[in-house]
Structure formats: C-alpha cells, structure tokens
Amino acid sequence: MASHHQIPPTQPPSGATPIIELDRVSFRYPGAERDSLRNVCLRIDEGDFVAVIGGNGSGKTTLCKTFNGLVPHFWEGEFAGEATVAGIDTYESSVAALSATVGYVYQDFQNQLVRPRVRDEVEFGPVNFGMADYAERALEAMHTLGIDHLADRFVWQLSGGQAHLVALASVLAMRPRVIVVDEPVAEVDPAGAHALYERLTELNERHGITVVVIEHHAEFIAQYAKSVVLMDDGAPVWHLPAPQAAARAAELAAHGIPAPQIVEACEGLDLQAAPRTVDEAAAVLRTAGAEQRTTWPPIASASSDAPEGRVVAVARGVSHGYKSVSGELLPVLDGIDLTVRAGDRVALVGGNGAGKSTLMRLLCGLQVPRAGTITLDGIDTRRSSATKLADHAAYLFQRPEQMFLKDSIRSDVRMFPAGRKRADADALVDRVLDRVRLADLADRDGRTLSGGQQRRATLAIGLAMTPSLLLADEPTASLDVASRNSVIDMLEELRGAIDAAVVATHDMHLVAEWATRVIVLGGGGVLADVTPTELFASDDLLAGAHVVPPQVTALGRALGIVPAPLSVAQWREAVVLTETEVRA
C-alpha cells in the first residue's frame, strides 16, 4: 500500500519558482510510536493557493508546522530529510527567523491572541523583532483586512470572525511571503468564513502571498483553492490543480471529504461535472436542460393539518439586556412573544448579538427577563429556581468541554439523574449512552474525544435530564462534514425522547435538514417565524438573518425551482433532465 510514497507526487505544471520544498522529510514526535510525516516530497510554488486535505491524523497539521520550523525546533522529535522555505534550510534556521517569512494562524485562533487590545496584538510581532516601523506595519495589516475600526477594542470583545481577522492581521504585520491557516471555517459562521476566504484570495492575488489552508469543506476548496494536496498516513497522495482534484470525488469522499452539494446535485442527475460555484453549476444544469419535475412538490402529508401540540414554553412581552463595561444597559431583546409547542423543532437564527443565546437562557430559566414573563411547562420562571427548572428544560452550552464536569462521560451523564435520586438512573444512563452510540467510550474523559463525539456526549447529558424542552447552542459548530451529519441525524432521532427542541445556529444545513420552524431574531425582536423553505425563498430574510442558504437550495432557486429543495435527497425528487424525460 505504501507504493505511492516512492512515486514523486504529481506537480501542478507551472514555471513559477518554488517557495516551499520538502525533500524526503520524515518526522516523529518524541515518545510517539510511528512517524507523523513519512518521506514527504512536496513543492509549493510562490503565489499558489494550496488546500491541504486529509482525514484526522493524516499529518496535515504536522506538515504545515514544518513550514515555519515549529517542527523540528519547537517540537523536538526525530527529523530527517530537507525542508527549504524561501531558500532557507529550516533545520539550520529558527522559528523566530522563519516567522518573518511564514505566518501561521491556528485553528483555535482565540488562544493565539496574547495582548489585551487589537492594536497591541497586531504590533506584537514587529515590536518583538525590534522593527522601528512597527506602527506602520500594524496599520497596513489592519487596513488590508479592513479592520482599522477595531484597533482600540479589547480582544475579548471581538466576535469570532473579527478575532480571526485580528489573528490574521497579526501575522500579516510581519509581511510574510507564506501564510498558513489551519481550518479557517471551524470556529466562525459561514458568512465570516467566506469573508475570510475573500481576504485570503485578495492577499494571494493582489499581494502575491502564498496561502496554505488546512480545510475539510469541499465547497471552500472548490471555490478558492488553486491546488490541492491530499495527505494520507503522513505523506501526500497527490498534489493536483484544484479542478483535477475536485474531479476525484470518490477518492475525496474515501478520505472523509464529501463532495460539495452542487457536485452531488450534478451526480444525482448523472451529469459528469465539477462546478466550483453555484453559478457555474446553474449554468451547467441549464445547458443540460434541468427542470422541475411535475411531481414536485409532493402533496403535503396530513401531518401539517394535525392538531397543534401541547404548549411547552411561552414568552410574553419579554425584554432583556445586559450592563456594559461602561455601565449603560445594552438592550438585547425587546418585547418578544413566542410559543413553543410539543413537536416543534425550532432553529433560532440571526447575526452575532441578535440575542439567540439570551433567549435560550431565558427560556430555560437560567436567567429571568427584565420585563415580560416566560412560562415553562406552566411554571413562571420567576417563581422557581434555575436548578428546579432544569427538570423541565436542558440547556447545552456552545463549547462541549464546558459541560464535562466529571472525569468520564458516564459520570457526567449520570450526574443529573443520580443527584435527583432517580431509581432507574443507571438504566437511564445506559440507554442514553447507547442512543448516542458512546457506550464504548463512556469511561473516557469527554475532553479526549473527537469533536463529533463530544457533541454527542453533550446531547447524552441533556437527554439524561429527560427534559420537555431541549435547548442547544450551536450544536454543529466547528465540526467536519461527517461529524456534523452524524449530529444532525442524532437530533433527528430525538423525536420520541423530548417534546420540543430549540437550537441556536449559523449552520444552514442543520436548519434545512432538521428544523420545522425557523425564528429569525434581529433588532431585538422576531423578524420572522417561518418554515425553512420560506426562509430560503426570501432574500430580505436571508440578509436580515446574516445567513447563506445551503448550496443545493441556492442552486434550486437559481434554476427557478419552487419550493427550492432543502437537501440533496429532495433535489433528486425535485429535478430532472428534460432529455431523460423525453427518452423515457
């Protein structure tokens, strides 16, 4: 199986000069049993926009850390071979010297910010190296990324997307020739992720900076990358120009990178095409004669006329706000009216600061509103304590590790039922762990699990509370596509266990495939209370909610299919190629 390592990986044909060259590089972390990099030969040309892809543990991050000398200077393992960056042999150089050439933005970029204010943060590198023009460099970097207005903010006041740009600016201030970004999409919302990629593209095209991204999401690779390196088991399988790489959909899927929805949509119609953007896909499909099936939409099933479910939670005239550092009251919600009924699967959407988390904290009684009332299972939340209300509503925090209070998943799940002396606590814990398919890992500390497993563990914690109402804050954030789908499936299966679920999210795949009701928050109130189909049909609502529809839905709209399909499965039901129909 190792045969492909002997063959030098295919190089994109070009006459450009190489900026990064690895020649038979191997690396083993101290104490590790096998090499993390195995005989890597790789050449990256100056001005390229490279996506490094591959499964977990394939060596993507270790590879990128050889570029700026963290391997082998910071991580002192066994290093063999030769790595040359901009003509410098990294083994002879140092991390500090290389940082003038290679900038590195981490996946958990929040931890990369070490100074209190944005300006200090961006100046930090140049000042450390004693560059007299540090102020101009910082201004230039902030200006290039369009974050001048953030200069005097505290770093902990920034939204995820803003913090990401600050981290990028802080490496840009060193005027590097290469920028490495580890999983840019992981921690920011879709609109923020696109914005970051646009900036990176601009840096690449306008300033000639070589960009290397580690990326899981095929849609971003297809749209932005110029070439793709596929890593497997510590070595590159190939390095190909992006269009050729995108055409190898089956191989990518085998390495945990499902094809973008637009490619799947073409495949669903037996059309051989690898469009990079929704517009390209729409053009291809128009030429091919894609049309709405006469059977679409399917006649609504009787369930939509079913009697409305029991009322689970009600908000009446709810207003809330927080005190700011300067002492004034910042209003967040203003006169919200809302009823959640049994059977509802509600997605709360809206821009950062629209009050999604606040509304959820009020609904579960963690906080009480400044004005108006919240009634949960018939109890006024003001008349009960948060601890008692936890019998009725479970709230899952955004970051899973904040919910791991004990040293194993089992004790975390058991904590609530055992604390309330439920006789069937152990049986319940076993049942719940089975349900989220974590029975085998139940004795591990939650922090040692993968992202998807962590989310499922938090779901188990919520389920063991046997609530009427389950509230989850961004349950699919920072997951790769496969783990995200497994979490969506799991939410889908909860139907019998809980009465209603409310999820705050930026993930439009979750909204499209799971929600029955979307509540758009904005300007302190409810902008809309609609079905996912209605949300994606309205440009005004999409803009107001700061969301981007899933590719397949956008494609459906572009082709004039009404209602636009919400998933690839629906797409197959909705669209047909006219020629096929004629032949049939």
Binding site: V114, H320, L366, R382, I461
Partner: protein
C-alpha cells in the same frame, strides 16, 4: 419567592467590575500619567509610612492616599473589599488587645499598624486601578523588570476575563445539574453547596485551560517573543509630561507636610 435580574452583587457584576478595574475604564487622575511616574509615586507612598511612629503623621499619610484613591475613581467592588478588610482589622486589633490583657496603649499601637497597612493598600489600589495592563507592563520594563514578568502581567490581565467567564459557565453547569437542596438555617446549606461547586469548578477549568495554552505558547514562539528585541521600542512610547511632575511634586510636598504636622501636633 420571585427572581429578578440583578445588576449588582451578581457574578456578572463582579466580572464587569474586575474588567473596569483592570483596564482602568473609569479614567481618573493617574490613568492619564506616565506609568513609570505612577510606579514611582506608588513606591514613595508604600515606603514612607514605615519610617514613622507618629500617629498624626500616619493619619496625615492616610488622608493623602485616601484622597488619591478618590481621584483615581476606584470602583465599588475593590473599595468595598478594602473597607471590609479595614474594619475587620480594627475589630480584631481591639479583640486581641482585650483578650490578651492589653491596655489602651496596646490597642493604639495596633491601630497605628493597621492605619499604615491601610495607607499602603490605598496607595496600591489607586496606582494599580489606574494602570491598564499595557502601560503597567511597559512601566515595569522601563524600571528594568524582567521581560517575562512584564509580559506575564499583561497576559494575566488578558486571561482574567476569559477565566472568569469560564468559571461562570462551569459553575452554572454544576448548579443546573446538581440536585436542589434545602437552604438550611440562615442559608448555610445553600452556602455550603455553593462553596463545594466553586471548588469543583476548578477541575474542568484547569483541564480546558491547559489545552488552550499550548497554542498560546507556540504562537508566542512564532511571533518572536523569545527573540526579545522589543524593549527599547516599547519604552520609547512613554512620555513624562507636566501632569506627571506636578502630581509627584504635590505628593512630596503633602508627605513632608504630614511629617511637619506630626512634629508640631501631639495626640492625647
């Protein structure tokens, strides 16, 4: 029982107060000064009280630092904690003097010591409430403190709101997922529960933080923190102005005045 959104004496309030204090967002006299001069001013008032046993002089010095604390716009949390400590100390001083068979003289000696401690505390409060992390760290650098200490101060301030936020979230989780119990006499059972949760909260916080610090350390390395060539640049941002000289001069005059007063006036 009816719950209400509380803006004072809540966890959120403590967090905001800590931020306001740490980042000197209230402004005030010393916040406008050069950090080097603020540190010098602080050292002056922190050392001087230990050179006298004259109660009048000590009272005079106390008044100076109390006025400084007012000018520095110290927030209610820090001031409240100070007053609780101050009043408590007096109480214990008298209790100790009485228990161990001391007389008025013993009590007076203890009062003098407590006043000195209070003077130094007020001076540190006034100074450090007014220094935001950047200027404090630069000021320390200018006075030849090691680079690592200067950075540690700045990084500590940067982490503080995050750690506090993390603590709040973990504590909330414990509160929601633990069994509700009786309040007990004067709420002692509730207090005991809260205390237990506060201790239990440290396990997840330490582990979560340890994970994130790895990135920070790597990032410091890549951004030349260990290259250590930035000291001169940082210090060159500082300027000593008229205000700095004036404040230190007025303080010196006031301190000399307090000593003069002590020599002239006698108590009892």
């Amino acid at each position: 029982m009816s719950r209400k959104q509380r803006d004072v004496l809540s966890v959120e309030w403590v967090k905001l107060e800590l931020i306001r204090t740490a980042y000197a967002t209230r402004g005030g006299l010393f916040a406008r000064m050069d950090p080097r001069m603020v540190l010098a001013w602080y050292l002056l008032l922190a050392i001087v009280p230990w050179f006298t046993h004259n109660l009048v002089t000590v009272i005079g010095l106390f008044v100076i630092t109390a006025a400084s604390a007012a000018l520095a716009r110290v927030g209610p949390l820090v001031l409240g904690l100070f007053i609780i400590g101050f009043v408590g100390d007096f109480f214990w001083a008298f209790a100790a003097a009485w228990l161990f068979g001391g007389d008025a003289g013993t009590a007076l000696a203890l009062v003098e010591l407590n006043l000195k401690l209070a003077t130094v505390s007020l001076a540190s409060i006034a100074a450090f409430v007014s220094l935001d992390p950047e200027s404090l760290s630069t000021g320390l650098l200018a006075w030849r403190a090691p680079e690592l200490l200067a950075f540690g101060v700045s990084y500590g301030y940067r982490m503080m709101p995050i750690l506090f936020e993390e603590f709040g979230v973990v504590f909330t989780g414990l509160r929601l997922r633990s069994a509700p119990g009786p309040r007990g006499f004067l709420g002692w059972r509730a207090l005991l529960r809260w205390g237990t949760w506060a201790v239990q909260a440290f396990y997840p916080i330490f582990l979560n933080t340890a994970k994130s610090v790895r990135t920070t350390v790597e990032s410091l390395e890549t951004r030349g923190f260990t290259a250590n060539q930035g000291r001169e640049l940082r210090i060159s941002q500082l300027r000593i102005g008229v205000l700095d000289v004036a404040v230190v001069a007025v303080t010196v005059v006031a301190v000399v005045g307090a000593f003069e007063l002590g020599a002239v006036v006698t108590l009892g």
